[in-house]
Symmetry: C2
Subunit: 365 residues, 2 copies
Amino acid sequence: MKITRVEAIPFSIPTRRPFAFSGGAVHHAEHVLIRVHTDEGLVGQAEAAPRAVMSGETQATVVAVAGGWLEGACVGADPVRVEDIHARLRPLAGNHTARAALDIALHDVVGQAYGVPCSVLLGAYTDRVPVSHMVGFASPEESAEEAADLRARYGVSAFKLKVGVGADHDLATCAAVRAAVGPDALLYADANHGYRADEALQVLPRMAEWNIAWVEEPCPAEDRVGRSRIVDQLGIPVAGDESCRSLAEVASEVMDGRCRMVSVKTARSGYLTSRKIVALCEALGATPVCGSQLEGAIGAVAQAAFAASHEATARFPAELTGFLAYADDVIAEPPVIANGEMTVSGRPGLGITIDEGKLAHYRCD
Amino acid sequence: MKITRVEAIPFSIPTRRPFAFSGGAVHHAEHVLIRVHTDEGLVGQAEAAPRAVMSGETQATVVAVAGGWLEGACVGADPVRVEDIHARLRPLAGNHTARAALDIALHDVVGQAYGVPCSVLLGAYTDRVPVSHMVGFASPEESAEEAADLRARYGVSAFKLKVGVGADHDLATCAAVRAAVGPDALLYADANHGYRADEALQVLPRMAEWNIAWVEEPCPAEDRVGRSRIVDQLGIPVAGDESCRSLAEVASEVMDGRCRMVSVKTARSGYLTSRKIVALCEALGATPVCGSQLEGAIGAVAQAAFAASHEATARFPAELTGFLAYADDVIAEPPVIANGEMTVSGRPGLGITIDEGKLAHYRCD
């Protein structure tokens, strides 16, 4: 089997309401459908969800790089030779999101070729994963209402709260959501670099009152000294996300003791590199958690397959509700969340079908 | 004064012959002319020289980001408020090359507005800088011939040798170039990650025989343990380049002892961030060296102005001959190298004039 073409289709779908966090907001899914075409007719697909505030990539850069470097490195290669294709791409720096989507699309082809779902291809630890919901910036009351609503409709009992906007707002949000979802729900926080380190050490300890299980990116990634102090002094574990974008960054952060948990996002590091990151976490005793880039339904399907594949990633709920933020999607059958869980697809590869009418409607090239 | 528009004009000019290094080669200047237009008629200009192997940016991503984020952050702002414009851009990750060109174009406007050259605006340490020439991969004989030719034609007596291809070739190149340029010339080497760390420790000590003054990026940037060993064991100083792309990376590398010299490139970090990097180097006792991204003549003018501005950057020769690699240029008057030096422009701002006919000929949008 040989790759004949890498197609990049930009599409834009509005959010139901803007999703805000410290440092930005998402108003539209300005995403890209990556399609890997082969000479045997199999087509691998994946969704690139670029976030300029995270990686510097935009919809336009993903389209440019997919049609340039990625296609150039892939055409003529056998899609099962995933390590070889990554080696061909190695000279290209950055472009994590574009590379990740290509990697997942390759795995989609491979799964189809072998007749097995991606979740089986990757390890087949389980066939369902507990789901966590990421609550964006809003008033404490709105956040509590959103969490209670998710719990009622989908049985979700794990919530990530976006904080880093200011002590009063953030602590009130913790209090309101904890009151709304009860003592057994898993709550954790993500400051997205919103606090200065000293501020983080004043605000975050007070979150223990509402049993916040861990805090992601408490202060700017470049403040290594501050982060080390937070890890040393805060009684709540610190998770790395923006500071842990690549295998080498995870190694540096975990080995130097600047985090004990790592947010793993297949939207950012694809399957191949995400597996290496999970292996590194296992080796060093750090805990991987499957995070969200607010990808749409295709990305959620891909992330769920990954989360279900490994014992280490199935341990904590995976952030899989991002696609609910959008008013529509290009997938024919969105994934189902019930009883707080998402069951992985049993179909070969990612097992997704695109609604071509919707794709034609939302594409923006 | 208000910025009214950020224009990005891609242009492509072939090299006289491909410029090769460990990990890639440059065949064309696939660069972008950034123009910052203002309501007072002043126009700031700079050249973006994206290198996908260094930063992941390409001509297409620079154009996309300049017309998107950069213009969005700038329009309506006063160009003299450089720190404010950088603050507006802070949410955007990466895109160092595009950001750098914008920053230099802003300084070009500011210099014109104040009626002073950029080199004066930035510190005015001197008005001329010694020039270093970067010799690309070739046979040892060709490299020696190239160095001797540069010495004869321009009086250049500092040369960076691209190594990392293999011990025999690299050592033969050092020997041949040293023989060609004599004992007084400054020779240093750049492996561009070409050696594994253990290999670097076998090959590099032998370079002392030809008085190689320092070695850039001896091994892959992610091999932090290996690099630390090289710094500790090698009798030749190690310079950071690919591992030192941002202010935070320079801080991390220098403070953790993984390099003692830092390649500073205004093509990568613009004027504002490059100045902060130079200040950090001064603070920590590290040595900045003005490197080259193989920018064209506009970039060389910008880099020369920077190198001449600070005592710390004027200490060692600056890599300013990159523009000689191209068959032509879009600048009306290319900078002059004579007696091994480049004299900075005395005109306001960068002091450059574009040859509009050539720009029209080479533009590729």
